[in-house]
Amino acid sequence: MLKALNIDPGKCTGCLQCELACSFENEGVFNPSKSRIKVFNFHDQGRFVPYTCTQCDEAWCMHACPVDAISLNKLTGAKEVNDNLCVGCKVCTIACPFGTVNYNSATGKVIKCDLCGGDPECAKACPTDAITYVDADWTGLDKMRKWASKTDAGQQAAH
């Protein structure tokens, strides 16, 4: 069964271990600005919300890519960027309505969550289980997907 990142913002303390683990695993540096998961701080509510790609079925990024540089990893369900094919045109960064594909000007390529090939470092680094990697069927991601699917864009893509 496919697994997915399950994010429970209620458990997040804003420690940013996930961002450090992500940037170290993927970019080789401890630098939150290079992380593919981002913790948003709603300081007026004392709330932290980790946010990253849901590997959505619609795969807006993958379909928008003009050079076939984003593909589905059938084992993990992740949409993965192939750096050798990516030309850095950035169309996927505006096509993804969730804003989870970013352009990295240092490499001239786009970056997005690839679930670390099926062993996501953010989940392993999270000390409070705010981020877990669980069977896709019972993740809270459904909540976000539902939110997306009730929209015009989502209805279009659902077909």
Partner: protein, 411 residues
């Protein structure tokens, strides 16, 4: 059932693949008008910069991709359509019979009525053949004049700069990227280019491309002239719809299609740059952009295969990298009557963000110098998300747009 698709760009290829998936066992013929395998025009500038070779522009990279899906790729350009006999006449004299037809013929660059544009050394940057010519002429240190600083012009600009040419840009309107950027942003892009050593003439027209001492000489209406080894013409594009003459098919800027991507002629659909389809913002428009072409291709194919799927309309959006300065525009980026705008401008650092709202809903946006989470601008616009309390916060500080988005995604 025989499906025929005229045009092997992104719209045509996605349609062919969608048909193969939705109606397995049907005959699918994909007609391509150029000598190269189906490729992406968008990727040509990256050939010029050396990031990819010509093969890197191909829309699909796997050998035998089309055969494996049962798609017949046939070379041929459409000359006309026999609507009654359900046949596409080809320029080479051949014909292709169809039951259901998709027109995905794309667009072509406009050649403005300027004397001298037929001279050797004057090229569009539209096809891989154009690319091959530009590669020969745009050598390091060569003098190049770029006519037109629109979206396509600016993408080419980036590639030419990277090749180390001495570049002069001539744009007829008062700023760069006038159809994607407002005065503030378009002027900042011009300033940025000039600071990088690119000569930019705005509100200036090329009146003639002459020949002098064996080189090209570009004459401008501001009294200036520029010698050139290469002139690249990027003065806009127009839909390729000439061959539908005589079919009675309704067309304006492009072939008019309804929410099912159907043209006014039975059994014929249209998609991509040649189609004037439902606009998310209302009415019918040609949105000659990559995301619209692939969406059109997919929806047209589903409807052609009998899976009735209405398309809610395309959203105008662009992302552009002009010599390292990245800009985006979405939806109603101009914002006019009935909209309220929030703006943040840091002229010295070339950073700009403008959000346009109708009531508490984002309807359009512009940005300069931002690359993180840009897609949420599309998400918020296309989902028509009511921003509630966040509207006032964004009016105060538009940079909080991603927070506003996340707050609603988890609401």
């Amino acid at each position: 059932m025989t499906y025929v698709i005229i045009g092997a760009g992104p719209a045509g290829v996605v349609a062919a693949e969608t048909l193969a998936k939705t109606d397995p066992g049907s005959d699918i013929v994909l007609l391509g008008g150029e000598g190269d395998p189906p490729y992406s025009r968008m990727a040509i500038p990256y050939v010029l910069t050396g990031i990819i070779d010509h093969g890197g522009t191909h829309l699909r990279k796997t050998a035998g991709h089309y055969d494996a899906l049962g798609i017949t790729y046939r070379q041929g350009r459409a000359a006309g359509i026999d609507v009654k006999g359900r046949k596409v006449a080809l320029e080479d004299g051949g014909a292709q019979a169809y039951d259901t037809l998709l027109i995905a013929t794309g667009a072509s660059p406009i050649k403005p009525p300027v004397p001298g544009l037929d001279r050797p050394g004057v090229h569009h940057c539209w096809t891989l053949d154009d690319c091959r010519e530009i590669e020969k002429l745009a050598q390091k240190g060569a003098e190049v004049v770029l006519m037109g600083a629109g979206f396509i012009g600016c993408i080419i600009l980036e590639a030419l700069v990277e090749r180390g040419v001495k570049l002069t840009v001539v744009e007829a309107l008062d700023r760069m990227v006038p159809r994607m950027m407002n005065e503030t942003a378009g002027t900042l892009i011009k300033d940025w280019c000039q600071a990088k050593g690119i000569k930019v003439h705005t509100s200036t027209k090329v009146t003639e491309v002459a020949e002098k001492d064996g080189r090209l000489a570009v004459v401008m209406d501001n009294g200036e002239a520029a010698a050139a080894d290469l002139v690249v013409v990027a003065a806009g594009v127009k839909s390729n719809i000439g061959f539908i003459d005589g079919t009675g098919m309704k067309a304006e800027q492009g072939i008019l299609v309804d929410e099912f991507l159907r043209t006014s002629v039975d059994g014929i659909y249209a998609a991509g740059d040649c189609a004037q389809g439902p606009d998310f913002g209302g009415g019918f428009n040609v949105h000659a952009i990559q995301p619209t072409s692939t969406e059109h291709g997919r929806f047209a194919a589903l409807n052609m295969a009998g899976k009735v799927t209405p398309y809610k309309g395309s959203l105008q959006m662009n992302v552009l990298d002009t010599a390292g300065l990245i800009s985006t525009s979405f939806g109603d980026w101009e914002g006019g009557k009935g909209t309220e705008s929030a703006e943040a401008l840091d002229r010295d650092r070339f950073k700009y963000l403008r959000l346009n709202f109708k009531d508490d809903v984002l309807v359009g946006a512009l940005s300069l110098g931002r690359t993180d989470h840009m897609g949420v601008l599309r998400g918020l616009i296309q989902n028509r998300t009511p921003l509630g309390l966040w509207k006032a916060r964004l009016m105060d500080d538009p940079h909080r747009i991603m927070e506003a988005y996340v707050a609603h995604a988890y609401a």
